[in-house]
């Protein structure tokens, strides 16, 4: 087998193993199912009445933000999975096998796409129940979901790298929240970026999390006519901006993480 074929084989085998684990660890399934439902309900009913969005209902505005937030938080799952693998005996098995050095990480980020698809499905259903609707075309909506998954995939690689820097599974959760919280909340996920004060607004406008949220809103048709055009370039071109960031993140963090893994493997 050529080395490219064996690499894909190895990645698929590791990803398959991770997917089996998702279905077999009840805690994980509960987390996949319940946390998106909880977030949708929490924001829709707790903040829904106190935040006013011009020309639309807050719930309509909210769902894309929740999607973005949930896939961001889902990346901690990638980190935790890798940190756990590194601690368990199975990693010595992997290292002693003639498998591709990138397969453990690439397999994990790939299987987490499955995880994200599951949680997006759950969130969509919950969203539909509380009044969210897709008002654009089906193709646009699919593009919106694909964009969310692409961005989530990129963030998975960041967390894969972070997981290899920290000493244990316990640390990874705290470490990832340090990265994920500001990125998720200083953004247009829950409130319009324009409503934020000066420096925060600038950060929010250039934050890729805002762009992916904005892109999803546009593609789901959740931006009512008459909403003022955003002034910042990233929010005017959210699809390109999101794709650009996603590619850049993978291009930087995948090699970093794989290198780090190979080094760690050498003790």
């Amino acid at each position: 087998m050529s080395s490219l074929v064996t690499t894909f084989n190895d990645i698929a085998v590791v990803a398959h193993r991770n997917v089996i684990k998702i279905t077999r660890v009840p805690e994980v399934l509960v987390f996949v199912l319940l946390s998106p439902i909880m977030f949708v309900l929490l924001f829709a009913y707790v903040f829904g009445n106190s935040i006013d969005i011009q020309g639309t209902s807050y719930r309509e505005f909210l769902i894309a933000g929740i999607f973005a937030q949930t896939v961001m938080f889902g990346a901690t799952f990638t980190g935790a999975g890798i940190a756990e693998d590194m601690q368990k005996g199975i990693i010595d098995r992997f290292r002693s096998l003639p498998m591709s050095r990138s397969a453990v990480l690439a397999g994990r980020t790939l299987s987490d796409v499955v995880y994200n698809i599951l949680s997006i499905i759950i969130m969509s259903i919950t969203g539909l129940l509380v009044g969210w609707r897709i008002r654009g075309s089906v193709i646009d909506a699919i593009a919106g979901f694909a964009l969310l998954l692409l961005f989530a995939y990129a963030i998975s690689w960041v967390m894969a790298y972070v997981a290899l820097l920290v000493p244990s599974v316990e640390v990874i959760n705290n470490a990832s929240f340090m990265v994920i919280f500001p990125l998720t909340f200083v953004a247009n996920t829950f409130v319009p970026a324009e409503s934020l004060p000066g420096p925060l607004r600038a950060f929010a406008e250039w934050n890729p999390v805002s762009a992916v949220t904005q892109a999803a809103r546009e593609l789901f048709g959740n931006i009512p006519t008459g909403t003022p055009e955003p002034t910042a370039w990233p929010l005017q071109n959210p699809v390109i901006y999101t794709v650009g960031w996603s590619i850049a993140i993978v291009a930087v963090f995948a090699p970093l993480a794989i290198n780090r893994y190979a080094k760690k493997a050498k003790g």
Binding site: M1, T6, N9, D10, V13, H16, R17, I20, K21, R24, V25, K88, G89, I90, I91, D92, R93, F94, R95, S96, L97, P98, M99, A103, A265, K266, G267
Partner: protein
């Protein structure tokens, strides 16, 4: 008979800060033989195995495993080895069958062959009934068996078993010995580490005794025993008052110091001429009118060997401050 070497390593060295885990270790294992790497905790056994299985890079030294150079073609080494470690290196959430199947796929055996190997190995290791249960619920002995099965998936020519029976109860240990013996009779080369002297004696063709990262002795179990003072005469006197006289008699035929006596009526002394020495001791005791309750010739156990070689026994904690003393 031409013998080729399956593992050859020269001058393997690994340091962690001030601690020297391996200090220029040489190993040669001919094809189809079993080498027992014997030493106490912290002697450097696992470090040696980790280096030879490409998990760890040595600071110095070179090695060839199954004909492939460790430094220049580690991928080739990984294709030709199987490793089973101190703790089970399998996924606990997956079933036994899924684990073996996954390992087969990662050795690039292909889907059908991986499935077939999993079935064969589950059968061979008596795990067929438990095949579709997650490994999490397995007993210690079952875990070791599934782990060992994992090392055999690709039928690698060279096997590394790092303390395969540590932590097992005596019955599981003896069962696993049976499995390992069977495996070796199939012609695999095996490097086995152990802190159990009996285990090396039972399984290994050759033994390298390792302490503080260095080989301090090697040979077959019998050679090692013979080299180290050979046999001993052990006796017990009926009357403790005879002990000083008995010591005097023993000293005449001994090739080393007389041990024992304090608090017991037993004496132990190394001798050079085996049975001959024994009968002379008996004659001597008779002449001195010392009555004995027991006398015999004892070959040293590997525990004795270890004590003699290292001067600190197998139980001594490996105190790193003493490394360069």
């Amino acid at each position: 008979m031409t013998t080729r070497t399956a593992i050859e390593a020269y001058g393997l060295t690994k340091r962690y800060g001030d601690v020297t885990a391996l200090d220029g270790l040489d190993l040669v294992v001919p094809e189809g033989t079993v080498l027992g790497l014997l030493g106490p905790n912290g002697a450097g056994k696992t470090t040696a195995v980790s280096i030879l299985t490409t998990l760890l890079e040595p600071d110095a030294g070179e090695a060839k495993v199954a004909g492939a150079d460790l430094r220049t073609s580690p991928e080739l080494v990984r294709e030709r080895i199987g490793l089973s470690g101190q703790y089970a290196a399998v996924d606990e959430v997956l079933t036994a069958r899924e684990n073996l199947h996954m390992i087969g796929r990662l050795y690039h055996l292909g889907r059908a062959r991986s499935k077939q190997r999993a079935v064969e190995l589950l059968e061979r290791f008596d795990l067929t009934e438990a095949a579709d249960r997650p490994v999490k619920g397995f007993s210690g002995g079952m875990r070791r068996r599934i782990d060992l099965a994992g090392a055999l998936v690709a039928e690698p020519p060279v096997l590394f078993l790092d303390e395969p029976t540590t932590g097992l109860d005596p019955r599981s240990r003896i069962e696993l010995w049976g499995v390992i013996r069977e495996l070796v009779s199939g012609g695999s080369t095996l490097l086995l580490t152990t802190q159990y002297l009996e285990e090396a004696d039972q399984l290994a063709d050759d033994i390298v005794v390792i302490d503080r990262g260095k080989a301090i002795a090697n040979g077959t179990a019998d050679q090692l025993k013979a080299e180290l003072g050979g046999e001993r005469v052990e006796l017990s006197v009926v009357d403790a008052a005879d002990l000083p006289a008995a010591r005097e008699v023993l000293a005449r035929y001994a090739s080393g110091g007389v041990e024992g006596g304090e608090g017991s009526r037993a004496l132990l002394v190394p001798v050079e001429h085996g049975i001959d020495s024994l009968s002379r001791v008996i004659d001597g005791m008779r002449e001195a009118q010392i009555s004995l309750s027991d006398i015999g010739l004892r070959r040293p156990t590997l525990d004795d060997v270890f004590l003699t070689l290292t001067g600190h026994g197998t139980q001594s904690e490996s105190n790193d401050q003493e490394v360069n003393a």
